[in-house]
Amino acid sequence: MIEVKELRRSFGPVVAVDGISFSVEKGQVLGLLGPNGAGKSTAMRMLACFLRPDSGTATICGYDIQQNPIEIRKSIGYLAENVPAYNEMTVGSFLDFVCDAREIKGKARKKALDRIVPMCSIESVYHQTIETLSKGYKRRVGLAQALIHDPGVLILDEPTDGLDPNQKHEIRKLINKMAKDKCIIISTHILEEVEAVCSRTIIIAKGKILVDSTPEELKEKYQCSLDAVFRRITKNGKQLNGE
């Protein structure tokens, strides 16, 4: 469902994403792992059609990110890293705005809201303004926004960042529940998360893919915890695929 070919993007002299290629199928949960500044968010922003790549292409659900950005945005759910939202709005009116923009109307809207609000456990804050919410609730509102149209492809940039252990567990449960009939990419630097939800991991550093494997395979190959694998790979910075 997602096909990325030689995607590249730089900001001035800094190359954020340096020719990455991979593909993700339905039913897979891909974890993009990497140290801060590795290029995970830039890659995801390009897939969500917010940033244009300098070169390379990617297709999502058969649409090209450069030629059909609107079609892609219709078919994906995207949660950005800092969970941007309109702070002065209440959760309810914010979700209404997202429904307006996604053309979910009438009965379909009621159905979507009835499904998503309990799913993300935001009933208690539904009438509260977003700026008064805690980080955890804000992230759940962001998640509700990304899931409201029940997209086939989900791109979640650090979905559990800043959440308490209970909330993390809830979100991971949610991702696992959705995993089989969606194609999901999550970025994270929390390694336990990869083990908990991802069926595949890509480790990137300095904009390049260093490893494309499954968490189990990595642990087996290096005979140590994922934590130690991550440190060894990103410190060496070498391409380990060909080894």
Binding site: R45, A48, C49, F50, L51, I70, R73, K74, Y78, A80, N82, P84, A85, Y86, N87, E88, M89, S93, F97, V98, D100, A101, R102, E103, Q145
Partner: protein, 243 residues
């Protein structure tokens, strides 16, 4: 169309969910009244609204950029632009949605000056046509200033910078047409250039509409000005949205 309406609705609501709208309306109505009576509204002993319309360009130079400055600068600063442009909304739809919402807000502000019309009608027998064209000219002028403000708001993330730049740009366009400016430039520029400068300014076109003369050239001046700055705004925004 639906995405345009979604942005339009959200934007217009956002004025009234924050104190912004009320602060703006109170200050605008106070100064529009104050300047009118200071100009000798009663002393003129004429049942018309010239004293009111005459001061509007000066008031708009400050008031309209203060509405426009937040349009994109805030969106970029808070990061909500990432949400907006990962929903199925094009840059043009978003720019137009925000522009028309802000324009309608300014029209509401103008409409709230209706007690002035009642006063004039009570005191005498004014030419209603003149009052209508006066309001039409003011609406077009507000749109022109707003389009300029919109552009500068997209240019900088900092609201103060975008405010100052748009005040300067609007002031130049107003003062270029003042008789004092024109008589000064006529001392060293040929007559053709002087009349070109005069025609480029708001002043001449606004005055002619306000006098009750609806000429194609005046209407097209405002419409072209609005379209030009809006297109420039879209281009700048498309380029800078992710920076």
């Amino acid at each position: 169309m639906n995405s345009f309406l979604a942005v339009f609705k959200r934007e217009l609501k956002s004025y009234f969910t924050t104190p912004l709208a009320y602060v703006f309306l109170v200050i605008f109505l106070f100064f529009s009244g104050y300047l009118t009576f200071k100009e000798g509204f009663y002393e003129m002993r004429q049942a018309d609204m010239r004293a009111f319309f005459m001061n509007l360009p000066l008031l708009f130079v400050f008031m309209v950029p203060s509405t426009a400055m937040r349009l994109w600068a805030e969106e970029r600063k808070v990061g909500s632009i990432e949400l907006l442009f990962t929903l199925p909304i094009t840059v043009t739809q978003a720019v137009l949605g925000k522009f028309f919402a802000a324009w309608l807000f300014l029209v509401i502000a103008l409409a709230l000056t209706f007690p002035m019309v009642i006063t004039v009608c009570y005191l005498g027998d004014p030419d209603i046509g003149l009052i209508i064209t006066g309001y039409l000219g003011s609406t077009l002028m507000a749109g022109g200033f707003l389009a300029i403000g919109c552009f500068f708001s997209a240019l900088s993330k900092n609201q103060v910078i975008s405010f100052v730049l748009s005040v300067v740009a609007c002031a130049v366009l107003v003062f270029a047409g003042m008789p004092t400016t024109l008589s000064y430039v006529s001392t060293f520029l040929p007559a053709g250039m002087v009349s070109a400068i005069g025609n480029m300014s708001f002043q001449a076109h606004f005055e002619s509409i306000q006098r009750g003369v609806l000429k194609f050239e005046d209407l097209s001046y405002f419409i072209l000005l609005i379209i030009g700055w809006i297109v420039a705004c879209s281009i700048v925004l498309d380029d800078r949205k992710a920076r």
